[in-house]
Point group: C2
Chain length 383, copies 2
């Protein structure tokens, strides 16, 4: 299969490229290093500096003998994307090319403007490139569980049957997100659904929860192939922040009451999910929505798990409550469905003690590079 990966330099884009190339697929990655650029501009560099995409592809080829075709360019420029389609002739496109940080999108006018325009135009261009070059191509779009927010009813996989005044219809599940970034992903889904039902393209929208983990099969071959690890308040997830705080001897900072519950998954399972949907594409004219996570955890439960894992490394981990910099429900109902990917064959790798201990160990090796000043909240939702 020929697969084009948009955002191939990212935390998920690069491991996806490696795994698919290792499995024998022909892979082209496209990236404009926007994420590196805005991470640097907001003083949010990752713990370990990654080689650039061209260097990574060279290392990968060195250790596996398999090549990954690299295109450096911006997919919000239609010409760039169009040329990548001509070059790759993809059977499928995996779309990770979005500004992915909620806090970044809430940090300033410019950051919000970039988030909206980058995310919408990358998705918009992708749709048009498929229409022009490869109408049968399967779009695999990374959405987010954050599109749903935290409604007081069960979350279904993308769609909801609604009965109202004695009549029934089926709709996209109503979504209400907690940051501007997450709101742009709602726009993406609405736009994809519009073009799916109008032009009959085929799309899988993966509503993914926060991903954790630093190791995939290909990382074992060469540590320089490790995915990026952000631990700051802007680009780091709560799991990464807790891991770094535990290693650095800082208390784990729980925002508010800590009851915020989300569906998490291991990076290994992200790769598994993407592989499963590539093998089982959506139909023409179908927007298939799958909720991509393996277990729901509250922030308090996460803190407890990291604290427990720390004991294996003799870390004395403290937990501390912090005024919540975000505007979000702290104690809420949360019951999202996630059967679709299990039905396709997903075998979950859960957040065990072993997994957290391994993350702690990797970060421990790099503990000298931790910059404690970027871990606590620098962006607040309130004005």
């Amino acid at each position: 299969m020929r697969v084009l990966i948009l955002g191939g330099d990212g935390y998920l884009g690069w491991p996806t490229a490696m795994q698919l190339a290792a499995a024998g697929h022909e892979i082209t990655v496209l990236d404009n290093y926007l994420h590196r650029e805005i991470a640097q501009a907001s003083n949010s560099q990752p713990l370990i500096e990654s080689p650039d995409l061209v260097q990574r592809a060279a290392i990968f080829e060195e250790v596996t003998g398999k090549s990954i075709d690299v295109v450096i360019g911006d997919c919000t420029d239609y010409q760039v994307l169009s040329e990548a389609f001509t070059r790759c002739r993809p059977d499928a496109v995996v779309h990770y090319a979005e500004q992915p940080s909620g806090p970044y999108s809430m940090s300033s006018y410019d950051a919000a403007h970039l988030t909206i325009n980058n995310n919408l135009n990358s998705t918009f261009n992708l749709i048009w490139a498929v229409l022009e070059h490869a109408p049968d191509c399967h779009i695999v779009k990374l959405g987010t569980m954050g599109e749903y927010g935290t409604p007081d009813i069960d979350i279904e996989e993308g769609w909801l049957d609604i009965e109202h005044n004695g009549r029934k219809d089926r709709f996209l599940y109503p979504r209400q997100a907690g940051s501007l970034y997450h709101t742009t992903k709602i726009f993406d889904t609405d736009m994809l659904w519009f073009y799916v039902r109008t032009y009959g393209i085929r799309v899988t929208d993966l509503m993914q929860g926060p991903v954790y983990g630093l190791t995939t099969a290909e990382v074992e071959l060469d540590p320089r192939l490790r995915p990026s690890f952000h631990y700051d308040d802007i680009f780091g997830t709560v799991v990464n922040r807790f891991i770094v705080q535990a290693v650095a001897g800082m208390p784990l900072t729980v925002y508010g009451s800590g009851g915020q519950t989300r569906g998490y998954l291991n990076i290994i399972d992200t790769l598994q999910c993407v592989d499963l949907v590539l093998q089982n594409p959506a139909e023409r004219g179908e927007l298939r929505i799958l909720n991509q996570f393996t277990e729901s955890l509250s922030v308090n439960e996460l803190a407890d798990r990291v604290q427990a894992a720390g004991k294996h490394l003799d870390l004395d981990v403290q937990i501390e409550a912090l005024v919540n910099p975000r505007k979000e429900a702290e104690d809420h109902y949360y019951n999202p469905a996630h059967q679709g990917l299990l039905d396709l064959g997903l075998e979950p790798h859960l957040m065990t003690d072993d997994v957290l201990v391994e993350m702690l160990e990797v970060v421990h090796e790099h503990r000298d590079q931790i910059r404690p000043e970027v871990v606590l909240p620098r962006v607040r939702w309130a004005r």
Copy 2:
């Protein structure tokens, strides 16, 4: 009251500006003539050429002694909008500054790209200008009934209480539109709702149906003050097309079976609605959504009405079915609520014989300017 009107050169923007100025409000209008530009570029000029905004304001001042402050500029440029806020210091902003044509948004990549970027960035900049300059300012945003599409359940005013698996919550009414343009209005509503609940701004979103009519109180003072009248397939509504076809001796072209039903309103009632919501602003932290139309009619009913009105002018009006260039339900359930504006005091002016006869008469005066070649569909949804 000081009111800033974005898109003040448009079919609704200009009459709104005149009516509010006539009533004693201090009015600033902002427009970049984008609509004139793209109408010209797509060979869709209005029936009667309007003086430009500066000229119109001069004529209005000549006949009423009241001034309207004119700013020519693009509100997708934040600096322009920011300066307009500083100059006007608005208590309210009426936001008409969007590319308003479904067919235009479906005509090409460039048109679709312009529609998304213009509409989202104008709304986005408006939100930020309010936050920066006038946090208490009331945003009156023109939405569209087209956001809802044609669901098989009753359409409520913006919100829906949903019961699912024995639990309940309230959501934005699920929306699914029939063109990319209408989809951008869904994005607008979602974005406004995000910033309303995050930053406590006050917003009224008027979900308006197709508007008809050529005459408002101020037009009686000088015919050069008449709103623009588009009758082509791209910028003209079905009512305008039928009126022109009746006058030109062309059959009224009904797309498909003609069962497509929408909520219509007279331009006089648009002005009344905007005035009512300005007098009764939304609360801080409230997104108030009102469905703005006065009567639901199918395309077949419209055709019959125009045919009947034509008899008063001795016009022999024929009706003809045409393959539908759009992708839409042609026979569907349609029962939208519209009580909110009636509760605020709206007194509907319905689409009577007299109203249609007057439109026919105005168009008849200008029948030599009709270009029949732009009336039939030039844009098709199918690829």
